[in-house]
């Protein structure tokens, strides 16, 4: 064979070049196989209807939680011929939300988001992302009455659709109540009585909390904040850490939004008092480890609050039941849980609620609904999925009490009944939808960061926040209408 001339090489390359470019272009425009990691369920069989579940809007991706989800998915496949279930797992919540938006835009949305917290529901509520399940539920003879009363309004999206609406945008999948977890060793060392396990115990209030936390906060010379010479810049042990100051705003009677009033109330005296009380824990009483301060006592960790608690340098934390498998395991000290203290106006603790929602753009809505029904409404499956799949309490009224039985083997020395008894005192008022939900929420740091740092006061900043947020709120109503309007 004679060698090719320069011109022949060019001519043949001409044909080859686009052929080389094309696969790259196609690769750039095609969904990667990494997107559907999980069970490894095959989608090659054209007769099978695949339901894709996005797991990433909260809990559900811890290695210990995956097997229960996979087993139930396989059980569904076994009982529903021609079905397959595929998991799309994105461990980081922010990343999951970003990817979900892109998948929706590209017409490649997952069929189901499970679990999704109320915050995740609220992010998309006014954009018609969630399928109204009410007709499918009625046809199946299923009612929200099967679930705990505290989760029903959230499942119906009442702030958006209105209190009288029959729409249902998610099936409750798990509930997480909160309690005060405390380091028993530190209480014993300080000679303090442990906080009460019974809810609504007299005298267990915010003032008492500060008093106890103060006795457990020590500087490098072992002085407490109430003792002379205490050095707030050199705290070595904190009374409080990983604390939800937002709930304390509710305990002071603060309420950000009144449905139907078309007005925010971020500058109400109650709201101001609650925000200031939260900031004072850090800057005035010096008992709460902010993230920066927690990093100071447990340097170099990804999650300084978790590291500070595990190092035994924090006496009390706000513990969500969802934190049991992180804050509750491998501790080198004795710990237990107690009730939340009462605020000046209310006894309230935070309630995290997870749902399973069908995406309105799903091409397999009927099977997606059947999957949710199998996983969340069937009592046995619902209990298994919530406890083993998400570390949560089952929201099914018939199953709520089984939470303690499911977990007592793992936490024999912890009074898990505190989490169950928390239900009547728990509400999720911090994550419910209101107009311009994300933008107004993001705006908060603009005004509240300086309050948290003690460089400004809630009385100075909240009226400004109210003004800016109300403006955004009013703009939303210029371009949107509530379905009830």
């Amino acid at each position: 064979m004679s060698p090719l001339s320069r011109r022949q090489v060019l001519a043949r390359s001409l044909l080859l070049a686009p052929a080389l470019a094309l696969p790259n272009l196609l690769a750039a425009c095609t969904k990667t196989s990494e997107d559907s990691a999980g069970t490894g369920a095959s989608t090659s069989d054209a007769k099978k209807v695949t339901t894709q579940i996005l797991v990433g809007f909260g809990t559900g991706n811890a290695p210990a939680q995956v097997p229960a989800q996979v087993d139930l998915a396989k059980a569904f496949e076994a009982t529903t011929p021609g079905s397959s279930v595929e998991f799309l797992r994105i461990p980081d919540t922010d990343e999951a939300q970003r990817k979900f938006g892109v998948l929706l835009a590209s017409g490649d949305a997952p069929d189901v988001v499970l679990p999704t917290g109320l915050f995740g529901i609220s992010l998309y509520l006014d954009q018609n992302v969630w399928l109204d399940l009410s007709a499918l539920m009625s046809a199946s003879g299923i009612s929200l009455d099967l679930f705990e009363p505290g989760v029903r309004d959230a499942a119906r999206g009442v702030n958006y659709f209105g209190a009288g609406s029959k729409k249902v945008i998610g099936i409750p999948a798990g509930i997480f109540t909160h309690a005060v977890a405390y380091n028993k060793d530190l209480f014993a060392k300080a000679g303090l009585a442990e906080p009460p396990h019974e809810w609504d115990t007299p005298d267990w209030n915010y003032d008492k909390l500060v008093e106890v936390a103060s006795a457990l906060t020590l500087d490098d010379k072992g002085r407490t904040p109430t003792q002379p010479g205490f050095d707030p810049t050199n705290i070595k042990q904190f009374g409080l850490g990983h604390w939800d100051t937002g709930v304390m705003t509710l305990g002071h009677g603060g309420k950000a939004y009144e449905p139907g009033a078309k007005k925010l109330s971020l500058d109400s005296p109650e709201y101001i008092a609650g925000v200031q009380a939260g900031a004072d824990l850090v800057n005035k009483h010096h008992v709460l480890a902010s993230d920066e301060l927690a990093a100071g006592v447990a340097a170099g960790a990804d999650d300084p609050q978790l590291a500070a608690w595990k190092s035994g340098k924090v006496a009390m934390i706000d513990m969500c039941a969802c934190d049991l498998l992180s804050f509750g395991v491998d501790n080198s000290f004795q710990w237990d849980v107690a009730a939340w203290p009462r605020g000046p106006k209310r006894l309230i603790s935070h309630l995290n609620v997870d749902f399973g929602s069908v995406v309105a753009k799903s091409k397999g809505q009927a099977q997606a609904w059947e999957l949710l029904r199998f996983l969340l409404v069937n009592p046995q499956n619902g209990r298994t999925l919530s406890s083993k799949g998400y570390g949560a309490m089952s929201p099914l009224r018939s199953e709520t009490g089984t939470f303690v039985d499911e977990l007592k083997g793992r936490f024999p020395d912890v009074d898990l009944s505190v989490f169950v008894k928390a239900l009547p005192y728990s509400a999720n008022e911090q994550e419910v939808w209101y107009p311009a939900f994300t933008e107004i929420g993001d705006m908060g740091s603009q005004f509240l960061d300086t309050v948290k740092q003690g460089k400004s006061t809630a009385a100075e900043q909240l009226p400004k926040y109210q003004e800016a947020a109300q403006k955004k709120f009013d703009e939303w109503f210029k371009t949107h209408t509530l379905p009830t309007a």
Partner: protein, 302 residues
């Protein structure tokens, strides 16, 4: 030209286009196409979640950005402050570093490699490292200040210090600019220095009259690249401060990202992107227009 030669020439031209077609197809499909799409989107209320509800809104997005959204101006203020400080620092330190690296010392090759390393390290990893350095109570930055007898500051947790902290971080990447300077410093003919030395010119004047003028093309290039690059700071702010405390580190691209991927307002985000493009175009044009007064090219007559 004879027909056969013309045909051959055309074939050769076609072959050449064929060879560049991988790049050309990519450029048209993945750069020009998205740019045109974003320009069109900027005239709509295109939402990421519900694109089918898109409406044409004309210049509303631009109007909102310029007159109705205080965060756009805050983001521009924050970014400009950062760019002004970090560009000056990068130009000065990069040049100083290049002059030092240009000295033929033993082991200078290793030092050059070390200084270029930041350019190939992941931005996220670097950001996490700096986050540890800037921890108020346990970080290296305040520990160094303490040794010097200076009170530490809250760095990325302070509205006052967060931008200076990001500027200090930007010094980490100064090696890239230094290498561009180094390339041009090594091209300056040594006979110029020898002639100056023979004439009794001191080292400072040799630097000011020979090195600096002949390095101005590199300074100009670094200036333009740095301004464009620094205006697009994102990773560090996204990882470390998320725009806070308050809005004190709300850089422009971070805000644009938030608008697109948190508020799902892709149309508005596209308008913000084109406004940034306009700002950079103006700044780059100004740089080019003024360059004829201060950039000197070897052999050029004025």
């Amino acid at each position: 030209m004879r027909p056969t030669r013309r045909r051959a020439s055309r074939r050769e031209a076609l072959a050449a286009y064929g060879l560049v077609s991988p790049w050309l197809i990519g450029f048209l499909g993945l750069t020009v196409g998205p740019m045109i799409a974003s320009l069109v989107m900027s005239l709509t209320d295109y939402g990421l979640v519900n694109p089918e509800a898109t409406r044409f809104v004309g210049a509303d997005n631009y109007r909102e950005a310029l007159t109705g959204d205080p965060l756009v101006w805050q983001a521009l203020r924050v970014t400009t402050y950062y760019v002004a400080l970090s560009v000056v620092l990068e130009l000065a330190l990069g040049f100083g570093l290049a002059v030092l690296l240009n000295v033929g010392l033993r082991g200078v090759g290793v030092v050059r490699t070390v200084y270029y390393l930041p350019a190939v390290v992941s931005g996220v990893a670097v950001s996490l490292l700096w986050l540890l350095i800037f921890q108020p109570s346990s970080g290296l930055a305040n520990a160094v200040l303490e040794v010097l007898g200076i009170d530490g500051v809250d760095w990325v947790y302070s509205t006052t210090w967060v931008i200076p902290a990001f500027v200090l971080m930007s010094v980490w990447g100064v090696g890239r600019a230094a290498f561009i300077y180094l390339a041009i410093l090594q091209r300056i003919p040594t006979n110029l220095y020898e002639a100056a030395a023979v004439d009794g010119v001191g080292s400072f004047r040799r630097f000011a009259r020979i090195t600096l003028p002949l390095a101005t093309p590199a300074i100009f290039l670094n200036l333009v690249l740095a301004v464009i690059g620094k205006f697009q700071i994102f990773t560090e702010a996204f990882v470390i401060s998320e725009g806070g405390p308050g809005t004190s580190s709300l850089f422009y691209i971070l805000y644009l990202y938030r608008v697109a991927f948190r508020y799902f307002r892709v149309g508005y985000a596209s308008a913000l992107a084109w406004l940034l493009f306009a700002v950079l175009l103006v700044l780059t044009t100004v740089a080019f227009r003024t360059s004829r007064h201060w950039v000197y090219y070897e052999g050029e007559r004025r």
